[in-house]
Amino acid sequence: AGQGQAQSPQKLTVYAQPSVNNDSLWMAMANNEYTKEGLDITYRLFPSGTTAFQSFNTGQGDIVLAGDLPSVQYFFRADGAYRVIAVIERDAKGYVGVARKDIKTPQDLIGKTVATRVGSTGSWFISEYLTKNGVDPSKVTVKNLDTQILPTALCQGDIAAFFIWQPVGSRTLEICPNDSHYLTDATGYIQGYLIAGARTELLNSAEGKDKVIRFLRATMKGRDVAEKDFAAVANYAKAKLDLSEKATREQWDTNIRPLALDKVFFEDFCSLSKWAMKDKVTSQPLDFSKFTWRDGLLAIDPKLAPEGPPPC
Amino acid sequence: MLQLSGVCKTYGPESGGYVALRDIDVAIADGEFFCLLGPSGCGKSTLLNIMAGFEPASVGSATFDNDPIVGAGRDRMMFFQDAGSALLPWLTVEENMRFALRVRRIPKTSWPDVIDKYLTAVDLAQHRDKFPSQLSGGMRQRLQIARALAVEPKVLLMDEPFAALDALTRRRMHATLLDIWQNTGKTIVFVTHDIGEALILADTIAVMSVGPESKIMQLFRLDLPRPRDLADSELRKTAANIEALLAPEIDRSEARIA
């Protein structure tokens, strides 16, 4: 770390979304970890991973944080120009199925309409939830709804249930506690991810590789703070996003911050890839040797990035 | 009975505006042919607009059959000085006539006859499929005359209706107008700047002074039978009187280039 301080700080642009699962980065920034690593971070927010990738695609930005499915899709689209450097966060509790009060079991959904953002991780969640509970997915109508309007649609009875990430679920229970309840969370079905990826071009240069390693190292230090110090995270969320402590808490509680490319990741992404191919969201198997870039994590600690499975 | 008493008209702010008319008193009896004569810009159109109810008098009162005039009414038909502006540019000559008859609630069966009659009277029968933009200036005036006559209003307010017509056509129009007036007993208020025209047509000629603050300088009553001949000695005397009245007025305001 010492050598970085001697030189003028190196610029690194990170694209992200305003969400509590970024708390590792927040804490790294709040505690000047990046500066200590000799990095001058530009942290830019986009409303979704998709919009972040749109801009990333034009050759701007160095590192982009996004959800699982957008990363996979962008990987195929970018034709090798993008690689995953680490899992920042994952959790199963961050995804929920909320239903009207009369829906008590998965079987109750038969013949009903459920909603999600079609093509998002929510779709995957529905598919896993139904199949694993022995419900034929073709007997349930899946509607495509924007996340914003899911609470309204459920409370008004336009749909029987929806499957999506938080805080949509808790918000719905706030709006119509008499009509809605949690049907399930994603535990045992899927996990939602926040993935950090970088431009391959950057990773191929020695200088870029070095920057990414320093980025990972600083983020890990931030992670250590984020995991322990809820008050610091809540303060940050309040100051930068005007999030209430309660809202921050809900998500903070469920965050798992691996900062690794571990077995669970490989398993989850395998099953994600299989679902995506089945649903024609993607057309080829996922080749982890191309999808991931392990050198960065390996340089910090070999245990963080084991060998991936064959394409699946 | 069309009556104005103590009418003033100021354009612009209450004080400091342009005082077009000052203390106008006129009473026009039913069935009277009343001519307004005066130099350009003296306020003839303004006066007619007040009678029509388009503009309120700034001071004073305007009544028709003892009811105050508060807006345009179907009993007082205006012929506009700017003929084109009052026609509907998206309707042909014939359709403009039909529009008038429709909103006037004239039974549909009589439309073809009425239209033929009045278009023939103004010599536009062969041009019935043209749009106003395809008419000459004089033809537009004639179309407006035909429309004004066809709806047979109680009072006709005519603002220089024949100004764009040639002498011979105008002579026929005079005859047509007098025919209709004599047969139906309408009240006609007729603005003109042509002394001869006023003498041939009017029961009463009101001569206005140059603006601002125009007044009615003098009323001339003419009881001669019609058709009249301008060579008639009484008419020539009246003409001379009117010219004598107007000449100093105009001198008052005009100057000739050296």
């Binding site: 093509g119 649609a153 336009d158 | 998206w90 529009f99 909103v103």
Partner: protein
């Protein structure tokens, strides 16, 4: 040099010949220029995307068309187009009619105008996208709320234009109609609306674009077909080629609808739109 034969012809023949040529040129010129324009446009796009941008960022037209062909053949695009068009039509037409009616009334009754105008002035800055939640609350997630969003994208543009047109109705026309004995309703229908036609037509052309843009928020809303859905979905899946197919489809649809509108206006309303 070859035209000496014509040069010696009498003046009137030359003139008739020239007139015929001129009228042929006039009749075909417009079509010729349109085609030339489109060719130039596509050539420009092809060049830009090949040499200035990367073809991955902006796929060249050839590739977009190659992507579009199977979608066209399978009937996928046609299906989406028909669904979106029917939504645009319902929303656009109801929006236009409502705006024209309200616009004529507000343009004529100034007290009512002053009373309603501030509310309109506040509402018209809300985009259809911002109205999505309200649409769902009011109309649920069915077709009605999609119509409503397109209506919303049309209504205020038409309203502003209609009021502007009504306020510029020449006063002499109205006065003449009043003298003739026209009722207030007849003045609306026969004088004010026709006088406002040039503004209304301009408003319709602008509002048409807005209606087509509103397909996208409308079809965010619980759609599983339609061009807006195709666009949304392809964007989410980062399928650039399909995104461009959707955009091109919207453009071409808009282009055709505008031509159709102009044709209808030319056939039925020319008399109202001639310059004075």
């Amino acid at each position: 040099m070859a035209s000496t034969g014509i040069k010696t012809a009498p003046a009137s023949i030359v003139s008739v010949y020239q007139m015929r040529m001129a009228s042929i040129w006039r009749r075909h010129r417009s079509l010729g220029l349109t085609i030339m324009s489109l060719i130039l446009g596509f050539a420009g796009w092809q060049l830009l995307s090949t040499f200035v941008f990367s073809p991955f960022l902006v796929p060249p037209p050839v590739r977009v068309i190659r992507t579009a062909i199977p979608m066209l053949l399978s009937g996928e695009i046609l299906h989406d187009v028909l669904i979106s068009l029917s939504r645009v039509f319902v929303g656009f037409i109801t929006g236009s009619i409502a705006a024209i009616l309200l616009g004529v009334i507000l343009g004529r009754i100034s007290t009512l105008h002053d009373l309603v105008d501030p509310i309109i002035e506040l509402l018209r800055y809300l985009s259809p996208t911002a109205m999505i939640p309200i649409a769902v609350i009011w109309f649920g997630i069915g077709e009605m709320s999609k119509y409503f969003l397109i209506f919303w994208g049309t209504f205020f543009i038409m309203l502003v234009n209609t009021i502007a047109g009504v306020l510029r109705t020449p006063i002499a026309r109205q006065r003449a109609a009043q003298c003739l004995g026209a009722s207030q309703l007849e003045i609306f229908a026969y004088i004010v609306v026709p006088s406002a036609v040039p503004y209304i037509v301009t408003g319709m052309r602008v509002a048409m674009a807005s209606a087509f843009m509103s397909i996208i928020p409308a079809e965010i809303l619980a759609a599983d077909s339609g061009i807006g859905y195709l666009l949304q979905n392809s964007s989410m899946l980062l399928q650039t080629d399909r995104i461009f197919v959707a955009l091109l489809t919207i453009s071409v649809l808009g282009f055709l609808c505008d031509r159709a509108l102009r044709l209808i206006v030319d056939l039925t309303l020319t008399r109202f739109t001639l310059p004075a």
